[in-house]
Symmetry: C2
Subunit: 313 residues, 2 copies
């Protein structure tokens, strides 16, 4: 099976499938394009949470309990920063901080986020390409019942508790796909939408200038895996957001958002009653066990996805 597979991913949920794909595909056949609209500056350092989650996962460093951060990391610096009067609500481990210090230095020296990410991956021994969706600045902000909030403020500081009325992706209209994303859009043999939050992880990628149209016109297989299972988000606030934005959360609701963007929609076995309605949206519904609790789960789902992405599927 030649050619690249282009996976679009956010943080923890997406990283699980990406890890599975990394076990199934040769490294040169996997390009992971990652949401960067969650990026934020903390303590003057550039933090790219989703890029780091995917990078740490493929480097074998990810904390298996949280899904983010580095396993066994300490928080000596954060405690010292707090003593110095800095806000410490965003938890940053010591080894994780080294990534942000290095990234910030290389960016300030003029490197693009693509180039800096590639250098960090190389240093950590990651052979797959992990690529920011754009080298431009895009930032998710949320209009909530408590006012407008930057993403991390909503997500971490307020633990997704405020009611969301609208979501903005500031800068997306002026952002170009990163060079490797651009190339993958032209050359990839298949696209995989990882089971990431539709509003907070995949939409920012889709809103980058021209990306939605390019994916609508993409001629190869386009496989989406539902992040909503049995009406609940596997992780995070996706179900809550569906409700607050006026829709019943379900795999079908996810599929409706993917009309024109995907050719195969993978729903969990618990949602198989929705398969016919998904089919009716003009995409092929495939029922699978999408819960990725163990390494074996991840590999099994990745194999199924790769099967669906092959020319004879």
């Amino acid at each position: 099976m030649a050619g690249e597979l282009l996976a679009l991913a956010g943080g923890v949920g997406g990283a699980k499938l990406v890890w599975g794909l990394s076990q199934v595909l040769p490294p040169e056949q996997l390009v992971v394009v990652v949401n960067t609209a969650d990026d934020e500056e903390f303590h003057g350092l550039q933090v790219s949470p989703d890029l780091d989650t995917v990078m740490y996962t493929l480097a074998g460093l990810a904390n298996p309990e949280t899904g983010w951060g580095i396993t066994g990391d300490t928080t000596t610096v954060l405690s010292a920063l707090e003593r110095l009067g800095a806000p410490a609500w965003f938890k940053l481990g010591d080894r994780d901080l080294a990534t942000h210090i290095r990234r910030t230095e290389l960016l300030r020296k003029g490197g693009t986020l693509s180039a800096v990410t590639a250098e960090l991956c190389r240093a950590l021994g990651v052979k797959q390409r992990i690529v920011p969706m754009t080298d431009n600045r895009v930032r998710t902000s949320l209009l909530t019942d408590q006012g407008v909030m930057a993403f991390q403020e909503y997500f971490v500081k307020h633990r997704c508790q405020p009611r969301v009325r609208d979501i903005m992706y500031e800068g997306a209209d002026w952002a170009s796909p990163s060079p490797a994303f651009e190339q993958a859009l032209q050359e990839a043999r298949a696209v995989v939408y990882c089971p990431s939050n539709p509003f907070l992880s995949l939409d920012p990628i889709l809103e980058v200038l021209g990306v939605r149209r390019r994916l609508q016109q993409f001629s190869g297989p386009r496989i989406a895996v539902s992040p909503i299972v049995g009406g609940e988000a596997v992780k995070g606030p996706a179900a809550k957001l569906f409700k607050e934005l006026g829709q019943e959360p379900s795999a079908l609701a996810v599929a409706r958002r993917m009309v024109g963007l995907c050719s195969v929609f993978v729903l969990d076995t618990v949602d198989q009653s929705l398969a016919q309605e998904v089919d009716a949206l003009g995409m092929r519904a495939v029922v699978a066990d999408t819960m990725m609790n163990t390494p074996e789960d991840k590999v099994r789902l990745a194999k199924q996805v790769c099967g669906l992405a092959s020319p004879d599927a």
Copy 2:
């Protein structure tokens, strides 16, 4: 005894006497002006080694074995940075790094080094004023037999081994004294030159625009403590530098450099044979035990210095 004492200091040697003074004087009577020509950027972070040594010393955090850094500090971040390809020859502990992260953030937000240092001191509970010599950029560089080197490159990376032919204080001609230094030059009742390296710690302060002249014209007591004892530097490369720059290292050689700048010159008991020659330079030679190995040593010397700084001395 009213009025402020203005102490001029570099790093470890100066910090010892400063600590003694802090035990003898009420906090509001001590202004410590610190060399910043050793400041350097590492990993994109602003490091002010001498300011931090004095600050950590007065905060009770200093590592008693090295004299610099924070006692018991770990190096998790530095190891991770090294793994990411960053140069790691300048040892930075984790808690120490928090200081540099915070400083860099506050400077980037527009704070002066004076304001940022005051904020760091406040957070660490330091009540004495610790003041950079200038808020402008001054950098020591050395012309050596291996070419021109930035200070930390010479001092840490090459461990002071290259032969020095000349020393430059880049930016000093355009640098103004920091506001608190300026005020202390006008209002202090006495000046103390701590036993810091004459070339690498005190000269940069003296080279800041107008400072040498202001100290020459200063009307109160001006007490210098020799950093050369028995022809050797108590710590660091001062004796080696004297030789390389063509002078025999001795307390007398230090005193010669202070002509017009100091009224009382404190030499160690082992150098009492030089007292008469020092007197002949137009300053009063005072013999004392200047070795500061224990807290008691530091307090005893500080008391003597304060005695010499009092109006009836």
